[in-house]
């Protein structure tokens, strides 16, 4: 039942926020904050009480499971389950959800109730994605995240630089993700029908559909249907067009959620569905996927260097970091997959930190254009120091979580695909360039305008401090996190049974 409540709480909280607006603007904020903290507390309690490190013998791979019939005619169930990976990601959702509420405390001033309804509905949908095992249910939650996000960007976004309006960005986001979701739906239905014709049983269940014997001609296409849906969300170049616009135009809370959690649903989807449902096809596809990841690493970094809008810069760095994740997921190495999970958490923390910082800068100087910044080090207390820390995290400085993730990925991938790692390592230099460019343009140099600006208040300081401490803790002692997800990563890496064969193929592609 805990799983059901984890999903229901954000939705109920959202409805409550919407209605609570009549008691004043503060009520929805407090309710939303409490709701997300509640989700966080539940997941932490589950983490502390249940033994996550080992899959229970005979009891399958799930720590918690809940199922109930929904549409028995089509074999559709409400099937929820949690293992170490979903637990970490749900906890992250709760944590970043609370931060998203906190960072829009002053930023959102109109239709406060409806804003928090949308915010919580997104997060509820995300939790659903992380917990759903029935493919139909998964698709439902997958689509459910999009609509409130659309409203979040369209109603509370900024009209930004380069003639982009927030409506355009929202529409673009919606079309990209909706169209790719459609491909996934087609793949799901096709998979179900293949299974039906094989066994005569109609089922959308993950466990049943795993190991379905798919005709050779069809299988790669079904795998691609899943892959494209996740590739758009990750995002993988060339499907990344929606991301910079959506980030730049979204309110801070939207950016934090988008970078911190929504992108992670894609990596989760690949780990949970694309790889286990189509192991052989995925293995054959791995060289292409790794090449795409590599393109993302380099392309995202090069573009990040050319941006003038601070949020667009951070958005492109996300593309670069997610490229590392994609490489790791298809490397077939346990070390790399564990690294990908650490990097997902690390990127959620560091990009949330940078987006929150840029939001706080916007509240003070009312621009995101870096040409109108400069010399802020002398004008704002404390914030530049935090910027250094998060910039260091983003460039993969050791002792931060990002370093652990990136280096585990590179260490793990190197034996199988050395050429990929050599090129990806160039991304480390590029990461230094874009990260320090941000520092350079915003905080160094002569002052664009004179006069001191207000330092952070307790709320702003607290958010950044918690993020920073977590980044350092994961960077210096990631073991609890690694133990939690070990039971997930090991089986996935074993899917690629013949890794030597994979290495040979990866070599050929390069």
């Amino acid at each position: 039942m805990i799983l059901v409540w984890l999903i229901l709480i954000p939705f109920l909280g959202g409805l409550l926020c919407w209605q609570a607006e009549r008691w004043g603007d503060q009520a929805p904020r407090w309710i939303a904050l409490g709701t997300m903290l509640f989700v966080l507390v539940i997941s932490v309690v589950v983490w502390l009480t249940d033994d996550v490190s080992l899959p229970v013998a005979g009891g399958g791979q799930w720590m918690l499971e809940w199922r109930a019939p929904w549409i028995p005619r089509f074999g559709i169930e409400i099937h929820l389950a949690m293992d170490g990976l979903s637990l970490i990601l749900v906890a992250l959702t709760g944590f970043l959800g609370a931060l998203a509420v906190l960072c829009s405390w002053h930023e959102i001033a109109h239709r406060v109730g409806f804003f928090h309804l949308n915010l919580l509905f997104i997060l509820g949908g995300v939790v659903g994605v992380f917990l759903a095992l029935d493919l139909f249910l998964f698709f439902l939650f997958w689509e459910m995240m999009l609509v409130p996000m659309y409203f979040l960007i369209a109603l509370w976004g900024h009209s930004g630089s380069a003639g982009q309006t927030r409506i355009r960005a929202a529409t673009r986001f919606f079309i990209y993700t909706q169209a790719s979701g459609l491909l996934m739906l087609v793949s799901i239905v096709a998979l179900v029908f293949v299974h039906l014709s094989n066994t005569g049983e109609l089922s959308f269940s993950y466990d049943t559909l795993r190991g379905t014997d798919i005709p050779d001609a069809l299988a790669p296409w079904l795998m691609l249907g899943f892959f494209v849906a996740f590739a758009v969300k990750l995002p993988v170049v060339p499907f990344h067009g929606w991301l910079p616009d959506a980030h730049a135009q979204a309110p801070t809370a939207g950016s934090v959620d988008l970078a911190g959690i929504l992108l992670k649903t894609a990596a989760y989807g690949i780990l949970r569905f694309a790889l286990p449902l189509f192991p052989e096809e995925s293995q054959a596809f791995a060289p292409v996927a790794m090449t795409l990841g590599l393109v993302g690493v380099i392309y995202g970094a090069v573009l990040a260097c050319g941006q003038q809008d601070i949020k667009r810069l951070i958005a492109y760095t996300s593309i670069s970091h997610m490229g590392f994740v994609l490489i790791a997921l298809y490397s077939g190495s346990e070390l790399a997959i564990q690294g990908a999970i650490v990097l997902m958490v690390a990127h959620a923390l560091s990009s949330a930190g940078l987006f929150i910082l840029s939001g706080q800068l916007y509240e003070r100087i009312h621009t995101r254009d870096m040409r109108m910044m400069g010399g802020l080090w002398g004008r704002i207390p404390v914030l530049p120091g935090f910027t250094v820390c998060f910039v260091a995290a983003s460039l993969g400085m050791p002792a931060t979580a990002n370093f652990v993730g990136e280096f585990m990925i590179l260490f793990g991938t190197f034996p199988g695909a050395p050429v990929v790692v050599v090129i990806a390592s160039a991304g480390l230099v590029l990461a230094a360039i874009y990260s320090l460019l941000l520092m350079q343009r915003v905080h160094f140099g002569s002052e664009y305008r004179p006069g001191p600006l207000a330092g952070p208040d307790v709320r702003e300081y607290g958010m950044l401090l918690v993020l920073l401490v977590l980044t350092l803790v994961v960077g210096l002692y990631p073991q609890p996190l690694l133990d939690t997800t070990a039971a997930v990563a090991a089986p996935v890496s074993q899917l690629f049974t013949d890794s030597a064969d994979l290495a040979a193929r990866a070599g050929e592609v390069n």
């Binding site: 060339p238 090069v302 346990e334 400085m397 260490f411 480390l428």
Partner: protein
């Protein structure tokens, strides 16, 4: 007890950083300086305690396992052996004196808290670098010192040129770091461990002498060392790094961080011995850097830039020593160089502050009476730099390097080393004459304000001056037994000849300098003003044009790439479906114009096409 001393030795600077960073401007300048200097002082005391109690064998203190996935199990583990102790003593000892001097140097600057927070963090990272018992922890320190160097070079952030210098330093060294990282990936793949002792133990069994893998691993590690230690071709960042406050240049860009590459190669000496070709390459790169930098130092006018090129040149000597397998000699020179170069930089700092931030030799001069302490520092430090026989620390270490090169039969390297000694004499005399003698070049130099503080000005300079004499050379314990036998240990033939040669080179450099810069000054000025001489001067002044070359080859193409990709071409391509749809829409909308005439026309046209198709198609019509 030992474990406690080790932990304290790097925990004090970390605590200093945290206190300063979280004080958020609540601390005054005095309190900040006190915490910043005090934490390093305590670290120095902890190190001294460790030196006194340590047995001399390698001991490991493992704090916790950093990451554990399968075979990948790097720890947060600290290995203390004689090499680490020597490095720790230099870092905390010289570091403490420099911190103390900085309290005088930074008086009246804004942001002292930030300065000391970065400096303490630097000491912490540098300690981890030398203490790490595995390569990943070493890499943590390695990157950490780079970040601190970035923060301190850009300390005067308001001038964007300083920001550029900091940026350049970080990115160039990061390129080297990526090579080092690749080296780590290769080592882990081949040996399944990152623990330094185990790596050195297993490498000879896994790799044959001179095998491709061993060569590749050594080359990649060398790439990292070149970046940090500012050797050709990754050296261009060091002269620009002088934009930071002078104590920073003394600590980071002379005494400690830039020698990290030497430490790394010494630490992994077993790996390099498996790759003799690469080891020789280390020596050749050192020799090239030594000469290039010495010539460049001759043509600088900024005293800090002279010292920067001199540092690069002296590290070239250390690399030369590594190249002939004389690891002990390299560390010896590292230690004495830390003493005398720190002294030279701090004395330069004393001059700069006394003359109101004037550091161009053309605007200085005639200071020797007015700034006696700084002058003394320059004389003693300069004597050590040119390796003045018997009395200076530099003589003993440089003589050792040249002797090892001779014993290893590397005549080419030996000759370069001797030529370098002559050049060192030239640029050192030019530096001292230009700064302290002759006519003052500006009002700042005519009315200097000498530093008077006994504790924060005189004491560091005097102590470092003493260490730069033969006393410093005596203090070095000698690490010979840690390393494989150096070439000079097995033979002694020709040692006397070499000492005569080395002394001759140093004296020749001094005499030539005196002749050139005192008696032939007008002739020299005339030569460098026009014609061939002017061109050579320009070439040396710009350090052989590496900056311009890299600018053409890398920086500009990169900027063009960024500029043209800024609009996100791939994304534009992805907009094609939308554009097509819009064009189709525009076309079809035009056909719906509501006029019966055109509809009839289109209909007739369509019917004709269909009928013609049917008539012309072969086969039966149904």
């Amino acid at each position: 007890m030992m474990a406690l001393a080790v932990i304290l030795s790097f925990l004090f600077p970390l605590a200093g950083t945290l206190i300063l960073a979280f004080s958020a401007g609540r601390l005054g300048a005095g309190a900040s300086s006190f915490i910043g200097v005090g934490s390093v002082g305590l670290a120095a005391l902890a190190t001294a305690w460790l030196v006194m109690t340590h047995s001399g064998d390698s001991e490991v203190v493992t704090l916790w396992t950093w990451i554990r996935v399968g075979d990948f199990q790097p720890t947060i583990g600290l290995a203390v052996d004689s090499l680490a102790l020597v490095m720790m003593s230099v870092i905390t000892g010289v570091g403490f004196l420099i911190h103390l001097f900085a309290a005088w140097y930074m008086t009246g600057e804004v942001g002292i808290t930030r300065f000391y927070a970065w400096m303490n963090l630097f000491v912490f990272s540098m300690m981890l670098l030398v203490l790490g018992d595995n390569l990943l922890l070493l890499f943590l320190g390695w990157e950490g010192v780079g970040l601190c160097s970035y923060g301190l070079i850009g300390y005067y952030y308001q001038n964007s040129a300083n920001g550029q210098a900091a940026f350049k330093a970080f990115v160039v060294t990061r390129i080297g770091d990526v090579f080092l990282a690749l080296g780590l990936f290769l080592i882990f793949m081949e040996l399944g461990t990152l623990d330094i002792a185990t790596v050195l133990d297993q490498a000879p069994q896994a790799w044959a002498q001179g095998s491709t893998t061993a060569n590749l691993a050594a080359l990649l590690v060398l790439g990292g060392a070149l970046g940090k230690s500012a050797q050709v071709p990754l050296h261009t960042w060091l002269p620009d790094a002088m934009a930071g406050p002078t104590p920073v240049s003394a600590l980071i860009h002379a005494a400690t961080m830039v020698t990290a590459g030497v430490y790394l190669i010494v630490r992994l000496n077993g790996l390099f011995l498996l790759a003799p070709g690469v080891l020789l390459l280390v020596g050749v790169i050192g020799a090239v850097s030594l000469l290039l930098a010495a010539f460049a130092a001759l043509a600088q006018t900024d005293i800090k830039r002279v010292l920067a090129y001199s540092t690069m040149s002296q590290i070239g000597y250390m690399f030369l020593a590594l190249g002939v397998g004389a690891f002990d000699a390299a560390i010896f020179h590292l230690v004495t160089h830390a003493f005398f170069k720190a002294l030279l930089f701090l004395s330069a700092g004393a001059v700069i502050i006394s003359c109101h931030h004037e550091q161009d030799m053309r605007h200085l001069g005639g200071l020797w009476r007015k700034l006696p302490v700084a002058y003394g520092g320059f004389l003693v430090g300069g004597a050590a730099l040119v390796a003045l026989p018997l009395v200076s620390a530099g003589f003993f270490s440089k003589d050792e390097i040249l002797w090892q090169a001779m014993a290893a039969d590397q005549t080419g390297l030996l000759l370069v080393g001797l030529l370098g000694a002559v050049l060192t004499g030239l640029y050192t005399v030019r530096l001292i004459l230009g700064t302290f003698h002759g006519e003052p070049g500006s009002d700042h130099a005519r009315h200097p304000e000498p530093g008077r503080n006994l504790l924060t000005h005189h004491l560091p300079l005097v102590v470092l001056a003493m260490l730069s004499t033969f006393i410093g050379a005596w203090l070095y314990p000698g690490l010979g037994e840690m390393f494989p036998t150096a070439p000079g240990e097995t033979t002694d033939s020709g040692h006397t000849l070499l000492q005569v040669l080395a002394i001759g080179a140093a004296i020749a450099g001094l005499l030539l300098a005196v002749w050139l810069f005192l008696w032939q000054r007008d002739w020299l000025a005339e030569r460098t003003r026009q014609g061939m001489g002017a061109r050579i001067w320009t070439l040396w002044h710009h350090a052989w044009g590496f900056d311009a070359l890299f600018d053409r080859l890398l920086a500009r193409p990169w900027q063009l790439l960024v500029k043209y990709l800024r609009v996100d071409l791939v994304n534009l391509a992805m907009n094609l479906p939308a554009l097509t749809a819009r064009m189709l829409n525009a076309g079809l909308v035009r056909s719906q114009n509501g006029r019966v005439r055109s509809y009839a026309l289109v209909m007739v046209f369509g019917v004709t096409v269909i009928l013609l198709t049917l008539a012309l198609l072969p086969g039966e019509v149904p």
